[in-house]
């Protein structure tokens, strides 16, 4: 059995064997906001913040997350509100199919926490682990550079 604090709430779970943190979040804790598009750490759609670090939850064994604090897309903002990066993504039309969006929101929130006014190049570096197949990234970059007060 493992203990996790997810979005401020304590959970216990019994992951099977080498089960990933992503599978535990989605299938045992009912937090389906984190997506699974590759399970190889290549696409970032499963991004969560674990003890302050941005991780691909598909690459973290749930057992290794025992005792950690996790923030998922569901916990970026209080219920009924949006985190500024979430608002920016929606308002700049950075969401199409939306499958990549939770991962981008988490990765961007993590970036802005460390660096409130990142440059366009900083934003690109920080999001280079997140794949979007729909938008071509233009609107995502405009959303976040706008938030940073930068020209894209």
């Amino acid at each position: 059995m493992i203990r996790l604090t997810v979005n401020g709430i304590e959970h216990t779970a019994e992951p099977a064997g080498a089960e990933s943190l992503l599978a535990t979040l989605r299938d045992r804790l009912g937090l389906a906001g984190s997506k699974d598009a590759c399970e190889q750490g290549e696409c970032g759609s499963c991004s969560v913040i674990m003890d302050g670090e941005l991780v691909c939850s598909c690459l973290v064994m749930a057992a290794d997350a025992d005792g950690s604090e996790i923030t998922t897309v569901e916990g970026l903002a209080p219920a009924g509100e949006l985190h500024p990066v979430q608002r920016a993504l929606v308002e700049a039309h950075g969401v199409q199919c939306g499958y990549c969006t939770p991962g981008f929101a988490v990765a961007a929130a993590h970036l802005f926490e460390r660096e409130p006014s990142p440059s366009a190049d900083d934003i690109k570096e920080a999001l280079s682990g997140n794949i979007c197949r729909c938008t071509g990234y233009g609107a995502i970059l405009r959303a976040l550079t706008g938030l940073a007060g930068e020209e894209p």
Binding site: Q86, V90, V95, Y99, P102, I131, R133
Partner: protein
């Protein structure tokens, strides 16, 4: 109330109408992670499905023993071809693909059996435990050999004009493109729920629920009404969801076990489960008069269709009809062949046959310009087609807008970016790894123009149904069209708003039992087709509301006269409901003659791309700096979403130009993962500037054209042309690999 309208009905100016960029209604749920994709569905007591797939490109199945799988605790079913209750095959035009392998497997990854178990992990173990004995057979994987053997799905011969016409200046070329994957981010997933009375409800991400439905109930052997398909959240599509993948399997398992069954493919399986963009081999000969007038084009195209037909017949048709680009030519002879092999099946992907030929004909146009000593843009302008001209391939007179020259001129007039990569190493090819230096970089610029048809062709009865209902609060739009991410949901709201003056519009995606087909979300067609149906239905609703109120203008408040509400929406509805169901059809098309002649297409759209690249020719590294575009859009209904289509489509074109390819050896896919199939990241994405050319279409709502595919047609050609410009190499194959650039 009077029964005759006293004036021409009008509407009030409405917020969020066409030409503005309102926020999409699903944006907030998506950004919060609350939007339910097909892989997020859950039902109490559900089982998990998994698929047994052929490890061979071709093999005889000697036996299938389910016993070892059934012996695993928690396994509920192992089903094979024998268990398919109805028609044992499926497919869009031709039902040639076994629902489960029929004694022989014909491609790597072909489904052989399906299992259901208590959880995903047990299901995966059960699939691995099903004992299948194969006898590998010789696989036919070379398309050239397939052509020689006559193993083909369709052969096109498009002939037009005087076959003896010859030009003084002649260029020939041979080109190839690789197999490309849609790589939509959400893999195939669905949930089937039995209704306890022999029927089933399927929740799935797909591009056309009614087409899926026809194939589904036939293979389940049930009445049409006993199998219902509901759209669930779709994580991108790009053609990958046009053919059935797990739909029948899921319903078979649910009906067999009497339990809900969910299945989610992992990425490796997803590569095996859906069709890809056809790899191509293309030979071309262009002939021109010395003044640059194109006079004859000959081409031979071989697109490999793989093991089953899916849409190969239509993809090769597009290749042949659009084989020479949006240019005049007196004499044309195009042979197009879709081969049948033991490669994984190929079918629909954004651009649908127009992409491969554009790569070839635009390389030919550059080559011809060089042979003529002419500026390549001048050569294109000299031969550009316009509305009212005949397409040199099919002979069809082009109706509606077709502003080829304006697209070319507008793009050519856009400013180029700064001269070099600058001092930041992150802007060099290869990125911050400091693999190259600014002194080693050569910059290249490439230009390409492409076009294709919109909506279905060749006499297909193409229609879309939509229902618009007035409610006391606004409008309800019901449709079965698939919102795959492109933003149709917002565009339908905008069309209904502008047609009625009512801002409050809800779009409901309803199931196969609730409404007729909207047709496929493909061929760039839904803005025009479902959009056309919504426009007609909304106008009829508006007219009826105004008739009941005795005229005036409609708004969300109700019917206004002289700025005063004379009837609320509830008042108008007191007489009874107002609801309009419209089945919208585009202008009819004809079937092709033996030589590919006829009015085969409902409309066309043209776009051009100009790419700027920085290349290290020794290391073979390429950075795509900028891709600008001009596109013929008819009318920009939602400018921000439209730009999103251009940027997304361009990046897929960039991927095909420099990094994406499914590597297939003897029919076996070698890179079925996101680790090995490279996709462009935000660091690979060029800057994009776009000019939208708005000349109204002849039948799209408010003159709008579909915009989804043109961004992907000529962007690949433009990027490769730019790399040629930087390196001086021929580069006749896409994607361009580092070794091609470096010449090793």
């Amino acid at each position: 109330m009077t029964t005759t309208p006293t004036a021409v009905p009008t509407t009030t100016a409405v917020a969020g109408g066409i030409g503005t960029s309102p926020l999409r209604p699903d944006g907030i749920p998506k950004v919060r992670g609350e939007f339910a994709f097909s892989g997020d569905l859950h039902e109490e007591g559900m089982l998990w499905g998994a698929t047994v797939r052929s490890p061979h490109a071709r093999a005889r199945i000697l036996s299938i023993d389910p016993a070892p799988a059934l012996a695993i605790p928690g396994v509920h079913a192992v089903l094979t071809q024998d268990d398919v209750p109805g028609r044992k095959t499926c497919g869009q035009a031709v039902k040639d693909q076994p629902v489960l392998a029929d004694g022989e497997t014909r491609f790597w990854g072909e489904p052989v059996a399906v299992v259901a178990a208590d959880d995903a992990e047990t299901a995966a173990r059960a699939a691995a435990a099903v004992a299948v004995r194969y006898e590998p057979l010789d696989a036919l994987t070379d398309p050239g050999e397939a052509e020689r053997q006559g193993s083909v799905f369709r052969t096109m011969h498009v002939v037009n004009g005087d076959p003896d016409r010859r030009g003084e200046v002649v260029v020939e070329g041979y080109y190839e493109t690789g197999t490309i994957d849609q790589a939509m981010l959400g893999t195939e997933a669905g949930l089937a729920v039995p209704d306890g009375e022999g029927g089933v409800d399927l929740y799935v991400a797909t591009q056309w629920i009614h087409e899926d439905h026809e194939q589904l109930y036939a293979s389940l052997g049930v009445e049409p009404g006993a199998a219902r398909i509901h759209l669930s959240g779709i994580g991108g599509a790009f053609g990958a969801r046009e053919d059935l993948t797990l739909q029948i399997h899921l319903c078979m398992l649910a009906l067999h076990t009497g339990r809900p069954v969910k299945m989610v493919l992992d990425r490796a399986e997803s590569f095996a489960a859906h069709v890809h963009r056809h790899p191509s081999r293309m030979w071309y000969r262009h002939e021109a008069d010395p003044d640059g007038t194109l006079v004859r084009v000959e081409a031979k195209l071989i697109f490999d269709g793989g093991a089953y037909q899916t849409t190969s017949h239509a993809v090769i048709a597009n290749g042949a009809y659009f084989a020479m680009g949006p240019y005049h030519c007196e004499s044309v002879d195009v042979v197009g062949i879709a081969t049948r092999t033991n490669n994984p099946p190929n079918g629909a992907m954004r651009g649908f046959g127009a992409v491969q030929v554009c790569f070839a004909y635009e390389a030919q146009m550059d080559k011809l310009a060089a042979a003529l000593g002419m500026d390549p843009i001048d050569l294109r302008l000299r031969n550009a087609l316009d509305a009212g001209d005949r397409l040199p391939t099919t002979g069809q007179v082009i109706e509606g807008a077709f502003p080829v020259a304006e697209v070319i001129r507008s793009l050519a007039a856009m400013p180029l970016p700064d001269a070099g990569p600058g001092g930041d190493p992150r802007h060099l090819p290869g990125g911050a790894g400091l693999t190259t230096t600014a002194a080693d970089i050569r910059r290249g610029v490439g230009f390409a123009v492409g076009f294709k048809n919109i909506a279905f062709a060749e006499s297909f009865d193409d229609y879309a149904e939509a229902r618009v209902t007035l409610t006391p609060d606004g409008l309800l739009v019901e449709t079965a069209a698939a919102e795959v991410g492109q933003g149709m949901v917002t565009v339908l709201q905008q069309i209904a708003r502008t047609a009625t003056g009512i801002e409050q519009v809800e779009v409901a995606f309803v199931d196969t039992a609730a409404i007729g087909s909207a047709g496929s979300t493909s061929a760039s067609r839904q803005t025009q087709m479902t959009g056309g149906a919504v426009l007609e239905a909304a106008e009829a609703v508006r007219d009826e509301a105004l008739r009941r109120a005795g005229g005036g203008t409609l708004s969300g408040e109700g019917v206004l006269r002289d700025g005063v509400v004379v009837a609320t929406l509830a008042d108008v509805l007191a007489e009874g409901p107002i609801t309009e169901l419209v089945r919208f059809r585009h202008p009819p098309t004809t079937a092709p003659s033996e030589t590919g002649q006829g009015d085969l297409h409902a409309g066309f759209s043209v776009a051009a791309h100009r790419a700027v690249v920085d290349v290290d020719p020794d290391l073979g590294l390429v950075r795509v700096v900028q891709v600008d575009t001009a596109q013929d859009v008819g009318k920009a209904l939602h400018p921000a979403a439209l730009v999103g289509q251009l940027e997304g489509g361009i990046l897929q074109g960039v991927g095909m130009a420099v990094m994406e390819e499914l590597r297939i050896d003897d029919g076996v896919v070698r890179n079925a993962s996101f680790t090995d199939y490279l996709l462009p990241t935000i660091l690979d994405a060029p800057d994009v500037e776009a000019v939208l050319i708005e000349e109204p279409d002849h039948w799209g709502p408010f003159g709008a054209k579909g915009v989804g595919e043109p961004p992907t047609i000529s962007s690949t050609a433009a990027v490769v042309a730019a790399i040629r410009d930087a390196t001086g190499r021929d580069l006749t194959r896409a994607p361009v690999r580092p070794e091609d650039v470096a010449g090793v």
